[in-house]
């Protein structure tokens, strides 16, 4: 299995800490993106703690981990909340998990990599009629962790975004960016470039929220 990643984090924070956090565990191939609720001052720190914690490999199931981490987050950073996107790739396949209103898409390049990239999965978003998150880790509501699994076959490309850029970039723009990746293995610079171009696209579209984009490319040989 080959795994490459790239990210652009907190593009709009202009020198401030920002409310988004990304962690990459390149040994165990675990990647997390967390977006703290920016109405709560400490949510940036909470998101950083959460992303670092969930990027570590752990023998417990994710559900069990979530319960423990949620309680810890409430104690460490009271009155905060953060989304959680987690992608883990191992010999058993790709495991995706999410909670909150951030975006996680999974693309696949079929026919041995000769077909065009197509979106095969998108994690559900927990939002109400106003588009606000209905559950966040560390908030009063943290009930359901959405999970998805994909077999260890072929080339995958996962795109993670905080809600700001996710709402600002159109599906066509997203697919056009992913389509730049061909059959060959990209380098981390390539993915960093694609993340930045998506983030700039979101900024140009008027996104005023913190902008974070991460891309993980996986190839099962």
């Amino acid at each position: 299995m080959r795994c490459v990643h790239g990210a652009t984090i907190n593009l709009n924070s202009f020198g401030a800490m920002g409310f988004d956090a990304f962690s990459a565990n390149v040994v165990d191939h675990i990647f997390t993106l967390c977006d703290g609720a920016n109405s709560c001052p400490n949510s940036g720190s909470a998101a950083t703690w959460l992303s670092e914690t969930f990027s570590q490999a752990h023998p417990d199931t994710l559900d069990t981990q979530l319960k423990v981490r949620h309680a810890q987050l409430c104690a460490l950073f009271p009155e905060t909340g953060s989304t959680l996107l987690r992608l883990a790739a191992d010999d058993g396949g790709i495991h995706m998990a999410s909670i909150g209103d951030s975006f996680l898409w999974l693309f696949q390049k079929p026919w041995g990599g000769f077909g065009p990239w197509r979106c095969i999965d998108q994690m559900p978003r927990d939002i109400d009629s106003k588009g606000h998150p209905t559950q966040l880790v560390g908030s009063e509501v943290c009930d359901i962790l959405h999970e998805s699994h994909h077999p260890p076959v072929g080339r995958y490309c996962a795109v993670m975004m905080s809600d700001g850029p996710g709402l600002s970039v159109s599906p066509a723009q997203l697919l056009e960016r992913v389509a730049v990746l061909g059959r060959a293995e990209p380098q981390d610079h390539d993915l960093a470039y694609l993340c930045r171009s998506l983030a700039l696209q979101a900024q140009k579209s008027g996104c005023r929220d913190d902008i974070s984009v991460a891309i993980v490319w996986i190839h099962y040989q």
Partner: protein, 345 residues
Amino acid sequence: MKLKDLFSMTRSSTGVETFQSSSTDAFADSIALELRAVATAAIKRALEERETRYMKSVLDESYFVLESLVVTPRDREIAKSLDAFLSVHEAVDSGFRHKFFQQIVQREYRSSRGSCVRVPETFEATIQLGADSLESMSGEEGFQVSLKGRRISFAVEASLGGPLKRETVQSPVAKAMANLTGAPSVRAPIANPGAQLGPRDTPSAPSIDVSVSDSRGNTHKLVGLPLVIGRNSANSADPMGVQSVGVHATYISRSQIVVFELMGTIYYFIPEGASLTCVRHDGLILERQKLYQLASSDVTTFRCGIDTNVGGVIPSDATPADFPVIHLNVHAAQPDKTPRPRAIS
């Protein structure tokens, strides 16, 4: 007649006169050529070093930006000459250094692999004196030349930024409108039988509460920006997404007030084509083609139908059917802040 005289006669008879270059011009010519060559070599070297990190498909759709070009004279003689040359010209023209280095660098450089470097219009190279720049060259060092015998006068280091995505060419109008909040966004459907790519909502943007008192009475409308208020404006739908509010009155121009947002601030102005202008609630008569900032906290009121050619006076018995009144109130954008979910009891 001598042969030399014959030649001079021939030259003068053609009307072409050759002026002798001054030593400064000769120096400029020689260093411009050398600087151009070494700058090109430095930029291509930096480009070839950077491009290996990227896929061909990324290089094909992007460009690097020249961030800096540091020129270091190789010995004291060159450093002094270059410094004197730039100082003399800058005394006459303060922008000389910028113009000189704009001639040295090209607009764009390309590598054999297809990647390119673009040079910003504001770019200016830096002359940096190194330890070598202060030392006179010894007789033996004077023989440090390139393989083909050229004396090497400068060392140049280039650094690049990016890559950035190349923009697709669009018309100036479309480009301007795309930067304005409220312009329509075209979203092509994704040919994907698999998963949906999620719900799409545009981010919140400021809008304007427009109240108009005219021959129809009082009307009220919440509209986005950019916005044109004027006679029958509502009938002229604009494909670029410009909103419009129509006013039905005797004294009102076709495009009376234009309102738009730029970098979070809302401005308004009377277009040049408007024959009439307005008076603001504080008594200010608006001038054509002059930008005014719209107060975000209070309601701004305008009385329309002011003709500055006849003194800009409104009769005391003026009615809104003749001289309409427009109230503008900024409807603040919804905050982008994400609330913390609360348990429902």
